[in-house]
């Protein structure tokens, strides 16, 4: 089962992960990562923009790669877009597999790619002014781990 979504409003990860897990009888393990908007001291609002014609197709392709490469039974990949507040989930990736190694590695792989190879641009509002966020050097290094 491949369940890929872009959402414009807040979501509760557990509401998605329960049915996702139940959709794969016989699984050995499910690994899930949920990223939240960090509540840095002066961040009032975070906004994620994207480019519709590329974003969802590239997430679908990323999930297909992960499913094939890590022998998954299914992958859930949900990403918020638009304005959001500190403490709200921004991304949720879940992988179901027969064995734990595949599930954990697939989540790791998907998150690295979503961070620095998917078509999202993030800016945050501090003291009433918007600031664009560039990927950190760490994010590029994380991504490079998968390119052997």
């Amino acid at each position: 089962m491949k369940d890929i979504r872009l959402l414009n409003s807040p979501f509760i990860p557990g509401v998605l992960i329960g049915p996702f897990t139940n959709a794969h009888p016989g699984l050995g393990g499910v690994c899930t990562f949920v990223g939240e908007v960090r509540g840095e001291v002066d961040v009032e609002l975070l906004e994620l923009s994207h480019y519709e014609p590329l974003t969802l197709p590239s997430m679908e392709e990323l999930a297909e790669q992960a499913i094939a490469h890590f022998d998954l039974m299914g992958m859930l990949m949900v990403h918020r877009v638009g304005p959001m507040h500190p403490g709200e989930p921004i991304v949720c990736v879940s992988a179901a597999a027969k064995h734990r190694r595949g599930a954990i590695d697939a989540v790791d792989f998907a998150m690295d790619h979503l961070k620095s190879a998917a078509w999202f641009w993030k800016r945050e509002k501090r003291n009433g002014e918007w600031h664009w966020i560039e990927p950190r050097a760490d994010d590029y290094a994380d991504l490079a781990r998968w390119s052997d």
Binding site: Y51, P53, H79, K115, F120, W121, R123
Partner: protein, 80 residues
Amino acid sequence: MTVRIVFLGPLRDLAGEDSREVPAPLGWAGLLDAVGPEVAEQLNEQRVNVACAGKVLGDKTALNAQDGDEVALLPPVSGG
């Protein structure tokens, strides 16, 4: 007979608009002319990608947009 240029992320601020219509067809030189010197400077950087009609170009300088195509200017991303 137009091509729509879409400015994404920080390029939107630099361009001062979300998108712009220009006459078709549109090649690389025409694109650099159309977007103004500040955006053109960014476009010349390797880390800025260009998509045409929903496909990211392997070689953006080979841009050849036809009537009705959307050309997206894609600065470095920051998701997750």
